[in-house]
């Protein structure tokens, strides 16, 4: 029996949406308030969905503590209470939540192997969220 398990995590980070290839005016037009030079922050809610067969002996798709350990080590420790613009992952791309969800997906894909990574869903605020399932 194939089932899907989703775990939710919270982290906080700041960012500024700014593209060096655009003029100051264009940046303001494209990114609006998010282009504020001093940056701003969000409480992000991350939902990680994994799937797999339910193991007959344990009743589980994977051990939740394994997933928690990987997400804590590879995602929360890396991004929580940081300025995303200064993280190496965003040296050459804008830290939009679209890009952040793809970065997190690829980090988890590499580091979590106990079940199939289906999807990363990232809420930037209560009003908008982004989903990435790999390309």
């Amino acid at each position: 029996m194939k089932a899907y398990l989703t775990r939710r995590y919270i982290f906080s980070a700041s960012h500024r949406l700014h593209c060096d290839e655009l003029s100051e005016d264009e940046n303001r037009r494209v990114y609006g308030k998010c282009n504020n030079a001093h940056g701003h922050g969000h409480n992000y809610a991350l939902e990680v969905t994994v799937s797999g067969q339910v193991d007959a002996a344990t009743g589980m798709i994977c051990n939740l503590t394994d997933l928690d350990d990987v997400v804590r080590r590879e995602v929360l420790d890396r991004f929580d209470h940081t300025n995303l613009n200064l993280c190496p992952e965003f040296a050459s791309q804008v830290p939009t939540t679209e890009n952040l969800s793809a970065v997190i997906f690829h980090i988890l894909k590499q580091n979590f192997t106990s079940a199939h990574l289906e999807k990363v869903r990232l809420e930037e605020t209560l009003m908008n969220s982004f989903e990435y399932c790999g390309s």
């Binding site: 089932a3 398990l5 989703t6 344990t58 009743g59």
Partner: protein
């Protein structure tokens, strides 16, 4: 095709323990959940059905009928119960959220006549849920 989701809550206790494992293995695999005095959760269940909208009633499913089936097949059997000791599905199966979602699917699927069951989503906690779509 329209999807309709009905939400309900129930509270139950359980523990995770596989008699084929040693005490140590049970503690290692299941952690605090292996405590055989049990513990409990407030579960939130979301049941999604799908179907064509009836041209006369405008319904995908008669919600009263869905509520009755949910009450009879799920809530009466699970609410304020000890899953390991009182629910037959878990006599020989560990009542994880995965297995509980599958058991709820099995309880509902054969009883739903009008609409087709699409998904069972079961929250054990606000930060942990399982989806089951009836896949093998």
């Amino acid at each position: 095709m329209v999807y309709l989701t009905r939400k309900c809550e129930f509270s139950a206790s359980h523990y995770y323990y596989n008699p084929e494992f040693t005490e140590e293995e049970n503690r290692r695999v299941f952690g605090k959940c292996a405590n055989r005095n049990g513990h409990g959760h407030n579960y939130t269940l979301e049941v999604t059905v799908k179907g064509e909208v009836d041209s006369q009633t405008g319904f995908v499913v008669d919600l009263r009928e869905l509520k009755e089936i949910l009450n009879r097949e799920v809530l009466e059997a699970l609410d304020h119960r000890h899953l390991n000791q009182e629910v037959p599905e878990f006599a020989a199966r560990i009542p994880t959220t995965e297995n509980l979602a599958i058991a709820i699917w099995d309880r509902l699927e054969s009883k739903l006549k009008v609409a087709k069951l699409h998904r069972v989503r079961l929250y054990e906690m606000p930060d942990l849920f399982v989806d089951f779509y009836g896949e093998a």
